[in-house]
């Protein structure tokens, strides 16, 4: 049926390059009136880049966009909005300091005798929001309403100003179930009026609940366009991850791990990660697998005390401990390499040397500075051991490549000689060579008897080095794979089906 309809938006062969790297490679996207179209892909697949290229936030390097049969070439989101394409972002892009009406009408307020007509504005705001199932007082500040209501107000503004295509970029990420229902009913209402909605999310259940079709991106290319009625969640996950069917060589030998060093029971934090049990033994690597937002990073953060758990208990070598802050974790010989090294890891303007000794110095306390000779010795040792390529340890760390930054961060934690090391996405955004080196390093550390927890979105990588793999889904541990069970196939299946039985 859809094929007989005329598409409302047709983007063809969209290209986008960043400093020579291809971010989008001839991407096509076709939207029909009245459909909810999911745009899917792992982080870095190019979803945001595509949206920004379509709405003019980025200047695209190739391709054409047709809206209602006419070629368009928007230069800014404001311009594309005027043409008919509205966008609503995950963090509500409205002004909390102004009233609901102000937010709806900013820039196109009703006027009377060359002055703003507030009464008319409030009246129309109330009317518009009634159409979205909201009966709220539009004279109140936006900040006095919940995020879900703000999200609906943002949608209302985008629809009023554009009216043909609405792009929702992770609109439900910070909403609870009831609030998601509110947003969904608003979206369904809009498509019944003939609008096309692009829905970007990491929650596959929501995709199947709301959307009609899906375009899946991977590494800047479209890898499939599917009618969701015809496919299963597993099919979509396979498309997104693009896992290769050939079995990856498992390197983790069936070596017998040592004694349990860290043991957590019913450990969790409301709203972040469901309570889980985890035993970690010396000389083993526990891999954390799952889609983005499944709770991988959250698990790492809760264990290290970045956010302190509100339930459960932890034991370190048989002694009960409280992991309430990164500082206590550090004192108990834990280390964490965070996911986003630019914001959470490196201190860009400090030298490589200072970055490497940061944690060691932090554990010593600032009243007992490390000796210069000792510092140099440590830095030289790790620069050599990890093969960090740099001109001098005195250079600012931000000048290093991603892979070398990551190695320097690893060095920071290794210098504290931790018993337990938590790595969150240790190979994100680094080149292939450094990638292999980091995997080798994980292997070496395990053989030396260290206990590691590694969260990664790359299945092959997890298969390669994990002794056990814990699969997460919707912020809950759903499955633990051991030994022979650890294959990309099984991991993908566990993620998509959420099978709980062992």
């Amino acid at each position: 049926m859809e094929t007989q309809m005329k598409p409302i938006l047709r983007a063809k062969g969209i290209d986008k390059f960043f400093a020579g790297a291809i971010a989008l490679d001839k991407v096509d996207l076709t939207l029909y009136p009245g459909e909810v179209h999911a745009l899917l892909g792992e982080n870095g697949a190019g979803k945001s880049t595509l949206i920004k290229s379509l709405t003019g936030a980025y200047h695209r390097d190739g391709g054409t966009i047709e809206l209602d049969g006419a070629q368009i070439d928007p230069r800014s989101p404001v311009e594309s909005q005027a043409l008919g394409i509205g966008t609503v972002y995950q963090e509500v892009n409205l002004l909390e300091n102004m009233s609901v009406s102000d937010n709806l009408f900013l820039g196109w307020q009703p006027m009377k005798r060359r002055l703003l007509d507030h009464r008319e504005m409030h009246r129309r705001a109330r009317e518009i929001l009634k159409g979205y199932g909201l009966d709220i007082d539009p004279t109140q500040l936006l900040s006095s309403y919940s995020i879900a209501i703000q999200q609906v107000v943002a949608i209302a503004r985008a629809v009023e100003l554009s009216g043909k295509v609405l792009i929702l970029d992770e609109p439900t990420a910070s909403l609870d179930r009831e609030e998601i229902e509110l947003v969904f009913s608003v979206v369904r209402n809009l498509t019944s009026r003939g609008m096309a909605v692009v829905f970007i999310t990491h929650f596959l259940d929501q995709v199947f609940e709301l959307c009609d079709r899906a375009t899946v991106l991977r590494n800047g290319c479209v890898v499939g366009e599917r009618k969701l009625a015809d496919v299963s969640q597993g099919d979509i996950v396979e498309l997104m991850l693009g896992h290769h069917l050939e079995a990856t060589k498992r390197r983790a030998k069936q070596s017998s791990p040592g004694e349990t060093i860290l043991s957590m029971k019913g450990f969790g934090k409301r709203g972040m990660i469901e309570p889980f049990d985890l035993d970690l033994r010396e000389g083993e690597v526990v891999g954390l697998a799952g889609l983005l937002g499944s709770g991988r990073t959250e698990t790492c953060k809760v264990i290290f005390g970045v956010v302190s758990a509100d339930q459960g208990s932890a034991e370190l070598s048989g002694k009960s401990i409280r992991l309430s802050s990164p500082r206590t974790a550090l004192e108990h010989s834990l280390g964490l390499c965070p996911e986003d090294r630019k914001t959470d890891g490196i201190v860009g303007d400090l030298s490589v040397r200072e970055n490497i000794i940061l944690s060691l110095q932090a554990r010593q306390g600032w009243t007992r500075p490390l000796k210069r000779s000792r510092i140099n010795q440590i830095v030289d040792e790790y620069v050599k051991a990890l093969d960090i390529r740099l001109a001098s340890p005195n250079m600012p760390i931000r000048l290093l490549s991603g892979g070398n930054q990551q190695k320097a961060l690893l060095a920071r934690w290794l210098a504290t000689e931790p018993d337990i090391l938590i790595l969150d996405e240790p190979t994100r955004g680094i080149d292939v060579g450094a990638h292999a080196e980091i995997i080798d390093l994980i292997e070496r550390l395990r053989e030396q008897g260290m206990a590691l927890i590694v969260a990664s979105s790359e299945m092959e990588e997890l298969v390669a080095y994990s002794t056990r793999v814990v699969v997460l889904r919707d912020r809950r541990q759903v499955r633990e794979l051991r030994g022979e069970e650890i294959t990309t196939d099984r991991i993908v299946k566990s993620i998509s089906q959420g099978e709980t039985a062992a």
């Binding site: 404001v78 892009n93 300091n97 820039g107 199932g133 500040l141 309403y145 879900a148």
Partner: protein
Amino acid sequence: MMRSPRLALYITMTTFVLAFLISASQYPSMLSTRVVANLLTDNAFLGLTAVGMTFVILSGGIDLSVGSVIAFSGVFLAVILRDTSMHPLVAFVLLLMVTTAFGAAMGSIIHYLEMPPFIVTLAGMFLMRGLAYVLSTDSVPITHPFYDTIQDVVWKAPGGGRFRLIGGIMILAYIVAMIVLHKTRFGRNVYALGGSAGTARLMGVPIARTTITIYAIGGGLAGLAGIVYSIYTSAGYSLATVGVELDAIAAVVIGGTLLSGGSGYVAGTFFGILIMGLIQTYIVFDGTLSSWWTKIVIGGLLFAFIMLQKALGWATTKGRRPASESATQS
């Protein structure tokens, strides 16, 4: 729950009324039109400066140059009226053009070079003060007959109050500012900019034009304050009005405007000015207190109002309505 910015305004107004009643109960003669008239006349130039400062602070900026601009304006007028035969009205227009352009230039630098307003206007402050020195280091008296004419425009109220023109100019400026801020698209854009410049841009607010206009208004009103100050003192002196920018900022904050921008009312600034004037009047009436007590009380008030804003901001987000309560069953 009441909207927090409005609540802050009411608290400022209540503070003023209470302070006035307390003063009047100690010194009943303060309840006279004379005191009210003097309150307006003495604070006219500060009041005008604070109007411009309200625009700037609402947009999330700051303007440190205004005190120097007032001093420059005074010297500029005094020197022109001494050395040329130009009519003061022509000189006024010329001056307003200079200070408005000066404000617009600072706004352009802030926007296009993405410089912090604090630094840009700090440079402007030194520049203007320096220019005032270049024109004259001495206090230059203004003896033009037109100044006498303006100073003679007085409305004598019953009770001996003398309401002068400059007080009227200030009140007019507040009324116009209120209309601009609340009844024009530009005014709403000022609030939008103060809420979040990035979001405002995404919502289609013309950031460049708005920023430049805001600082132009600040400069223009500082120039107008300079004219009023020269009428008030009948002289131009390059060392005058040092630190007035800080008094203006204090009045804006006491008036309930958030220093980080996006929330507040120009009416609040008016009461902020009145509160500060009232403290001074009280000290004059008392006669034994050192005038430095003004500063101490203003310091205390500022602190109290900052705490108050924190509390109000916290209360608004705490009282957030859940979605389920306001959604109609559809």
